[in-house]
Symmetry: C2
């Protein structure tokens, strides 16, 4: 049943030898790697306004373009910094690898934990923003958004368990449609504003009042835009940078010369991302839209610029949905890959490094889907509730990766390393400052969650690693290791003389032990006599020991009996044989005392003791079929 359902959903298994890769040309690579970064334009501008507007009203719009310029400058710094990484690590330089090589184990574990948190949030944020694009176009669906998000995550999980190839053919159409739609929106919108005399959007007084009533912190008391608020708004806008590091991880996927093509693609991506982000901010500052959680900013502005729900409007909404789903999908490739690397280093459960039937890291895919789904449920599928959690992991990764590069240049001293080192140092310092701004300004808004979680994950990594080291040490076998020779005592536990007990006794004899004892638990003198009689009547010659249990408990008398016979020989191994029913239906197990199970659990931790269940097939008592 299980395996049939699995075949149907996941497809037939693939052999290890069937693994292969295709190299990507620059336009396709741009589509594949840019989806994560570029898709953040769908919500970054809106998130800035969602911080400012409830407190400052339309005055918020004055801050939008300045904050966006700071974000764009930060983007430029980060992009130049990552160009160094691309050339230094042509085999792929994610922040876990770069930190491990240059900053040591602890830094790499922090980077790894940040990455995992980051990927989980990429799925949660992108999916909820993608569904928001759909519910903005079709408001009746808004109350179903949590379900819609979970369905999207479920579908992505299945697709990835099947082993979707990162085919450029799949990525290119939605990514380029989204980019073109944004260009049309910004271009046509600004054209109408400056040349077509488009007025700012009419004020929706009621909506503004409602937004103002959401004010929930001290900032509003001053009735002004405080420094803290600006920092918060900037922190929200900074999520536009997520996904910029993707290309540096994926250098080997480019056609030759890999590093050069990757670096060029990175710059192209940054230009598109920065341009679209700035364009949307400028457009918003002229249209003066009032943001709410009911409809996305993109949808509000497109509806106004296009004068209603025109075909172009729907193209934009669906393209937004599509690119955000693709962005989430990249996390489904990256999370399992990074966790398999960390698991390979012994810091995460080994199963995360196992390839499933379809050659993908199935366990990592499932873990990501479940955790992201939980986040969606807990935060009600609201993008803006998840944003404060997002930036912490992203900027921790940036900072460690760039700091690692600074050390890398000192160590390698390649041509022109001093200049490169300065670039990376500026990158590391800027992202570190942003990280501090994010944690401080958004701490009470949710940033405390990753700030607490990342160290906890690092502690978990270390505990797991210590366990694996301990096991490896215990398994070590010196070349001169002599296998111990031991005498063998076999104890057969029987409930009475019946077919299953006799089968178990026959099996025990076939082991040819040094000593064979049958034991049975009796709770009264009558049972004692009856057991002896039965034994004699069946002409059994095996030594029988009757264990008295006045309290009708089966485990303790057996345990003390085994302790007793264990003391006779110092070097023996004891095998305890228990007859066990093999039943046809699962519910039948409820009709039998599970004392054998209890005994098994208790004997497992006893040294030099092996417990063996001899199965008795109730439906085929004669054995061989």
């Amino acid at each position: 049943m299980y395996s049939m359902a699995k075949r149907l959903l996941v497809g037939p298994p693939l052999a290890t030898a069937e693994e292969h890769h295709t190299r990507l040309g620059r336009p396709t690579a741009l589509a594949v790697f840019a989806s994560d970064a570029v898709s953040s334009t769908a919500y970054a501008t809106e998130e800035i306004l969602l911080v400012l507007m409830p407190v400052a009203g339309l005055a918020a719009l004055d801050f939008l373009v300045p904050i966006s310029i700071v974000v764009a400058v930060l983007l430029t710094i980060v992009v130049f910094s990552y160009r160094q990484t691309i050339y230094a690590y042509p085999s792929g330089g994610g922040s876990y690898v770069v930190s491990r090589e240059n900053l040591g184990v602890n830094a790499s574990l922090i980077a790894g934990a940040s990455l995992l948190v980051d990927y989980i949030l990429t799925v949660a944020v992108s999916v909820s923003a993608g569904i928001a694009a759909i519910t903005s176009a079709f408001p009746v669906l808004r109350d179903q958004r949590v379900w819609l998000c979970l369905i999207a995550i479920g579908v992505m999980m299945l697709v990835n368990l099947r082993g979707a190839k990162e085919s450029g053919r799949l990525f290119a159409p939605p990514v380029y449609t989204y980019i073109v739609s944004l260009i049309i929106l910004v271009g046509y919108g600004l054209y109408r504003v400056f040349l077509g005399g488009l007025e700012p959007m009419p004020l929706d007084e009621e909506l503004l009042r409602e937004i103002a009533s959401n004010v929930d912190d001290g900032v509003a008391i001053f009735g002004a835009v405080s420094m803290l608020l600006v920092m918060r708004a900037f922190s929200s806008g900074a999520v536009a940078l997520t996904g910029v590091e993707a290309i540096s991880n994926g250098v080997p996927a480019f056609k030759k010369p890999e590093s050069r093509n990757a670096a060029t693609t990175l710059v192209a991506m940054a230009v598109i991302l920065g341009g679209a982000f700035m364009g949307l901010s400028v457009l918003a500052s002229h249209l003066e839209p009032v943001v709410s959680e009911e409809e996305t900013l993109l949808s509000t502005m497109a509806r106004y610029v296009y004068g209603g729900e025109t075909p172009l409007y729907f193209v934009l909404q669906f393209a937004t949905f599509a690119i955000l789903i693709l962005a989430a999908n990249t996390a489904f490739a990256d999370f399992p890959r990074v966790s398999s690397i960390i698991a390979g280093d012994g810091f995460m459960p080994r199963q995360l490094a196992n390839r499933g039937d379809r050659l993908v890291f199935s366990n990592g895919i499932a873990v990501l889907a479940v955790v992201a789904g939980l986040l969606i449920v807990v935060f009600g599928g609201e993008t803006s509730a998840l944003i404060p959690l997002y930036a912490v992991g992203v900027f921790t990764g940036f900072t460690l990766s760039q700091a690692g590069m600074v050390r890398h240049h000192s160590a390698v001293r390649e041509q022109g390393w001093r200049r490169s080192q300065v670039v990376n140092a500026v990158g590391a310092a800027s992202t570190a400052v942003v990280l501090a701004v994010v944690v401080v300004s958004k701490f009470t808004k949710g940033a405390w969650i990753p700030a607490a979680l990342i160290p906890l994950i690092v502690v978990g990594f270390k505990v797991i690693h210590r366990h694996y080291v301990r096991v490896a040490r215990a398994l070590e076998t010196p070349a001169d290791y002599q296998r111990p020779h031991r005498r063998h005592t076999v104890v057969v536990l029987v409930g009475g003389v019946n077919r299953s007990a006799l089968e178990a006794l026959a099996y025990a004899e076939s082991l040819r032990p040094d000593r064979l004892i049958a034991a049975t638990v009796v709770t009264s003198d009558e049972e004692h006599e009856r057991a002896l009689d039965d034994w004699e009547r069946h002409g059994l010659t095996t030594e029988l020991r009757l264990l008295h249990s006045p309290y009708r408990d089966l485990t303790s008398p057996v345990l003390s009996f085994i302790d007793e016979i264990d003391e006779e020989w110092p070097d023996d191994v004891i095998t305890v044989i228990v007859p066990e029913f093999v039943l046809e239906h699962w519910w039948e197990a409820a009709l039998h005392n599970q004392s054998a199970l209890m005994l098994k659990a208790r004997l497992r931790s006893r040294p030099n003791t092996v417990i063996t269940a001899v199965p008795f097939h109730v439906s085929r008592p004669d054995g061989k079929t």
Copy 2:
């Protein structure tokens, strides 16, 4: 941990020999056995009014005394019928036993299922009515009634798991206090009505309106009291008879002459029960109280008769609570006892016939508490919602028990058997008619639940019995049974050459099998080579088979390998040995592939195959502590 908590809550275990019984004198026996029957006076009159009043208003009171007289006549018939049972079954004649002996297996199973349903409802109804007595006195507690009921059930469960003796000293005070309180209430109430000029209670118009708004069926359309409604009211009143059969079960608990003392006590109990029930109905018909679910009828009338919340009022409320809890407690003795008898006959899981640490049938006690607790939660702790479910089981038991007695007299033909047979025939016929009335009139009100459940339980009984018969047949051992002699093949599954694998190999050698093979699963040619090298390097001479698994699945290659070697010898038994890590912490299991577990599950159903896990203690790799 678990066993410490158990000792604290349940007490130290008792030896089988510690079981003993005390015989009860008549006054104490009356207290012990009457609690169930007499306690129903606390709600029976009220339940009649709760059916009639929402439709007929105060006209309902005209029907109260006539219906009560019919119930009292029925009580007389049933009591005389049960006197026959007491003399015929001095060792205890519950309806399960009487039906089994006289009517055959099927009838006894129906009786058994009815009894179990009946006991569960005794707990649910008595506890909710008992808590209603408390919340009537302290209305602030009414919203907490479900919790209060669950606490009461939990306490009873613990007390019974400890093995409370049915001590007369415990039962007598509350039972006699309740009886005396009722006599005072009825006596003083009627005195005030007839000689003190007490007027009927003032009409609470609002309450009457509220009650009238609850009307929810077609009966009300006619604005009159229809036949169906009267039948329903009578069915509710008939629950007064529950518990009458208790004495016939408990004859052996009486002092000698047992049957005679039991019969006398039964009549005394019936007089008290019938008198109190009639008295309350007469009092109610004069006081004209308006019933509601907010306050019990007893509480309403006592408050009015005593002119407020006097000490006598509180004594009555607490005595009502106490006797109802005692009534529920008798089910905690009866349910486990009856289910142990049924389990002993092989119709219920065998564990229900096992005595726990404290010599009580612990599993039955726990099952009763859980199911009754669920009923309380589902029906919101409302007595009147549970009443329609109650009478079906009770009257099914009565009918089968009395019908069994009719057959008994024909078979035994004791002195004067014809007269006795007529008595039982009248009893069987009357209770059968009442059963039909209950099922028909209350079907849509909840009687369908037991009407559907009892047959389902009977089917469950039969399925369980068939299973046990099948197992017993499979275990049968003819006297000339020859234990098969078989050749022994041992397969050791190893993941690589390490200490745990070497220990498992040493263990396998100590079994001195006819054939020993080590097997390891490899997923690539490199792994193949490496495994061979390791084997040679450690100088291992055991035959090594390399099982190729291109799809990285561990179970299937092992299974087909075992099939393959199993074909070589037709008569062999195969032992599969798997090294298994014994870890210190439960969570460490999540860090290892559980492929051995999967393999175990798959091999369990294979004939002539034994799977043995050789434990490797990671924290004590050297073995003996």
